[in-house]
């Protein structure tokens, strides 16, 4: 009511507030479809193209007048700009005629325009129009993302064409659109927190994707193009740090293994550092154990918000142990079942050590239990043995073979002794026989420690691969265990999901729950419509003007007939096609499954038992329906009716509405 009052600035006493309340019912209108709006403008401009430029000499006198006036005032800068505008317009028409064999195709031609092209302002103008015509902050945010992506494509195209001078414009507009996306996001969150959250996650995903694109573009581009790319990359990274973006924050402790100005490697994870945005609390050197607060982008990209020395991280505690070297990478060795971080310049390696050798290790124990080697000394070189012993985490269990610490070990009934109740994720000690070609057959597998869960993290990401044992979600491998992992929703590759995962002592993730957040790339939008069935067949259902496809996967609850009142849930794909996922008869909540409705309207048709009043079919039953006046077609009547569970209206009383 306030809105109407404000709009009209009307004297309150003059208008019945009840009337205002009623008029307010009309205030929300059906929203305009932005696609329709954009098409409408396109059509209008095409029509203008067809009539205006060709007519400029003859049929538009005011146009001619302006031309003459213009000749007299050649020094007027405003007028010069107008000449330029007219020339551009003429050029556009000619260009379109040449390229497409007809005028009126400006919009199409402009679609491929790049910054600096004559048609480019038209392209961005169309975008702006679409934005203006789009209602809903979430939808606007998505459009801004779409346009930001276009700017990136343009940036790449400009670089490919060697047009470096225009790259800064593309970068600036890229920055503009992602900033606006965040602004719209803030509004969207207020409008609808749930959608806002999904949107935030989409934006995080998009930003991380942009950052990846820009990083590789930066690497492959010549020097003159780089400042613009760097600016865009910085904008993407900084926006990703925005609190409003749907990043999940994680905290972890790890050893700094490498440092560059842009990114640090901390215990195997790459963490992006942004000058001015990442708070680095102490003087940190490679080898230090640090605590990191980082934002997880939807693609698993980590951006550090804060890095500090982990207090008492190493606390001087040092252990010494012996073991066989099971694997060696540049950063991590596996020795006697333990992972030991090896840092060039800080770990002293004594002797020429190979996999299989037995070594003595002096290692610092981190607060997270992580071992950083101070010294590794060769004790004895590997000898060819019949039997080896190693420790590892059980990655997979099948009837014939187990995967333990990345190795496949054959398990043979009657020959392999399994000690303890072992499940995936547990740490075990294995005695195995080495066969031909290094094939291992377990003699004994002994439980050392059950999965030591060190924490649980939550993150969002896109599903990249699905196998029976593990899923890849935004670059992270997450073990999926039947009976232990709850999968919510029909998830397929490409979907965005939320993962609750347990972090094992070795950083391995085991999913506790994977929940579908958004189907792939939001190409499909969930819809829910309640209404009366206008037509139904085995393959389709029409309700309130929308036709849904029915597939064998569609869940149908109840018997659906024409005229039934149903709730349909489904998805709208990129082409606007609707597919029903669930169709359910709506129960009308009242004592006898009927609810009373009253309305007024014009009698449009009176045929036997079915009348049409105000566009609605109303059943008129002798003895049930009380008809108070002599009623004719065209009369305005008041109707009291009952709405049955089947959506049919049965009139109880019809009277003239005087």
């Amino acid at each position: 009511m306030d809105k109407i009052m404000k709009k009209s600035n009307h004297n309150n006493s003059e208008i019945d507030p009840k009337l205002i309340e009623m008029l307010e019912l009309l205030e929300p209108t059906l929203p305009r479809d932005p696609e329709d709006a954009a098409r409408g403008m396109e059509r209008f401009l095409m029509e203008a193209d067809e009539s205006l430029p060709t007519q400029s000499g003859t049929s538009l006198p005011w146009f001619k007048k302006w031309g003459k006036k213009n000749q007299k005032e050649e020094n007027d800068m405003t007028t010069r700009r107008q000449i330029f505008a007219m020339k551009t317009l003429a050029m556009v028409a000619i260009l379109a005629a040449l390229v497409f064999g007809g005028v009126g195709m400006t919009a199409l031609a402009a679609g491929n325009a790049l910054p600096g092209d004559a048609l480019y302002p038209f392209k961005t103008g169309m975008e702006q129009t679409r934005l203006n015509l789009t209602s809903g902050a979430a939808q606007q945010a998505r459009l801004h993302l779409e346009y930001a992506e276009r700017r990136l494509d343009e940036l790449a195209a400009l670089i490919a064409a060697g047009r470096f001078d225009a790259t800064s414009q593309a970068a600036a507009e890229f920055e503009f659109h992602i900033e606006r996306a965040i602004e719209s996001l803030s509004k969207a969150v207020q409008d609808d927190p749930v959608e806002g959250q999904e949107l935030a996650s989409q934006i995080a995903g998009a930003l991380s994707r942009y950052a990846q694109t820009l990083t590789s573009l930066h690497a492959s581009s010549p020097e003159p193009a780089r400042p613009a790319i760097k600016r865009a990359l910085q904008a993407a990274d900084e926006t990703a740090m925005d609190d409003r973006v749907g990043s999940t924050e994680i905290e972890f402790i790890g050893v700094v293994e490498a440092k560059t100005a842009e990114a640090w490697t901390i215990s195997g994870r790459t963490v992006v550092i942004i000058a001015g945005r990442t708070q680095i609390k102490n003087e940190i050197q490679v080898g230090d154990t640090v605590k990191v607060h980082a934002l997880v982008g939807a693609e698993g990209r980590l951006t550090a918000r804060e890095v500090e020395l982990a207090r008492g991280a190493t606390s001087g505690e040092e252990i010494e142990f012996r073991g066989a070297v099971e694997s060696m990478t540049a950063e991590v060795w596996s020795i006697g079942g333990k992972r030991v971080v090896v840092i060039a310049g800080r770990t002293e390696i004594k002797g020429d050590i190979k996999v299989g050798d037995t070594v003595k290790v002096h290692a610092l124990v981190g607060v997270d239990g992580k071992l950083t080697a101070r010294e590794i000394e060769l004790i004895s070189q590997a000898t060819v043995t019949e039997e080896i012993e190693f420790r590892g985490t059980v990655d997979a269990i099948t009837a014939e073979a187990w995967t333990i610490g990345g190795r496949t070990v054959a398990v043979v009934a009657g020959r392999t002794q399994v000690k303890g109740e072992i499940k995936i994720g547990d740490t075990v000690k294995v005695h195995a026989l080495v066969g031909a070609e290094g094939r291992l057959t377990a003699r004994e597998i002994e439980l050392i420690s059950p999965t030591a869960v060190t924490g649980e993290i939550e993150f969002r990401g896109m599903v990249e691969a699905i196998t029976t044992e593990a899923w890849t979600i935004s670059g992270r491998t997450v073990s999926v265990v039947a009976g232990r992992t709850e999968i919510k929703g029909a998830i397929k590759v490409g979907d965005t999901v939320k993962v609750h995962a347990l972090v094992g002592p070795d950083g391995r993730l085991t999913a506790r729950e994977i929940e579908l957040i958004t189907p792939s790339l939001q190409r499909e939008v969930e819809v829910s419509v309640t209404g009366i069935v206008l037509a139904v067949s085995e393959t389709s259902l029409t309700i309130e003007g929308d036709t849904f496809r029915i597939t064998p996967q569609t869940e149908i609850r109840g018997t659906i007939t024409n005229g039934a009142w149903v709730e349909v849930r489904g998805v709208r794909d990129a082409n606007g096609a609707l597919t029903a996922t669930r169709i359910q008869l709506v129960e009308i909540e009242s004592e006898d499954n009927q609810s009373e409705v009253r309305f007024s309207g014009v009698v449009e048709a009176m045929g036997g038992e079915a009348w049409t009043i105000a566009g609605r079919k109303v059943i008129v039953v002798p003895l049930v329906t009380e008809i108070r006046d002599l009623i004719r077609t065209g009369d305005v009547v008041k109707v009291r009716a009952t709405l049955g569970a089947d959506g049919v209206l049965v009139a109880e009383r019809i009277e003239l509405d005087n």
Binding site: I4, K7, H10, D16, K18, L19, I20, M22, L23, L25, L26, T29, L30, P31, R32, D36, A37, G40, M41, F44, L45, E47, A48, S51, L52, Q55, S59, L60, P61, F63, W66, A85, L89, V92, T106, P121, F122, G125, Q128, T129, N132, S528, V529, T530, G531, E544, G545, V586, I588, E589, S595, V597, R598, F599, S600, G601, E604, A614, L643, D657
Partner: protein, 181 residues
């Protein structure tokens, strides 16, 4: 709202494509809202907007002076189109969809009741004279001033004030008095 007409038409006297695009951007959302409110149908409303702008182009093309007050002109054309539409066929029932989308968890019976109440107000509005209806819609739903309305209706301000008073009185009689009595 007045900025465009003054700037584009009175001072510059130039209508290039950019100006046309701006005119469309500025007025088409309001025109759509206005038409869909009266027509109750999105497709018809889009048709109305398209026809209105097409007529505007034809006026420019015909060689006459471009309309001085674009807003008043466009709404006048749209209004005529809607009146013709009503003559051809009576107003269809309002779409139910928006309400349902807005709150699909609510009891459908309540939604139906609200929708019907809305329809009742809509129909009451249609029972007013064309002039009264225009004034009520533009004033209370579009937030126009009496001066703007007068320009669009090609009447004077006193006439639109009178139409407003008469329109509100009729609405009260149609909508409220039967309930009270």
């Amino acid at each position: 709202m007045e900025r465009m007409s003054t700037l584009a038409l009175n001072e510059k006297r130039v209508i290039d494509k950019q100006t046309l695009a701006e005119i469309y951007q500025q007025y088409s959302p309001g025109l759509f809202r206005y038409s869909v409110r009266l027509l109750g149908d999105r497709r018809l409303a889009e048709d109305c907007v398209a026809e209105t702008f097409s007529r505007y182009l034809k006026t420019l093309k015909s060689g006459g002076e471009p309309p001085q007050n674009v807003q008043a002109y466009l709404y006048r054309v749209a209004r005529n189109w809607i009146t013709d539409q009503f003559r051809r066929q009576p107003p269809p029932p309002l779409e139910l969809k928006e309400e349902v989308e807005a709150d699909h968890l609510a009891n459908p019976a309540r939604l139906v009741a609200k929708q019907m109440e809305r329809e009742r107000v809509h129909r009451a509005l249609l029972q007013l004279t064309e002039e009264q209806r225009e004034v009520i819609v533009l004033r209370f739903l579009e937030g126009w001033s009496h001066e703007q309305i007068a320009a669009s209706l090609e009447k004077n301000v006193d006439a639109t004030r009178a139409a407003q008073a008469r329109g509100l009185k009729s609405l009260r009689r149609i909508l409220i008095e039967p309930e009270d009595g």
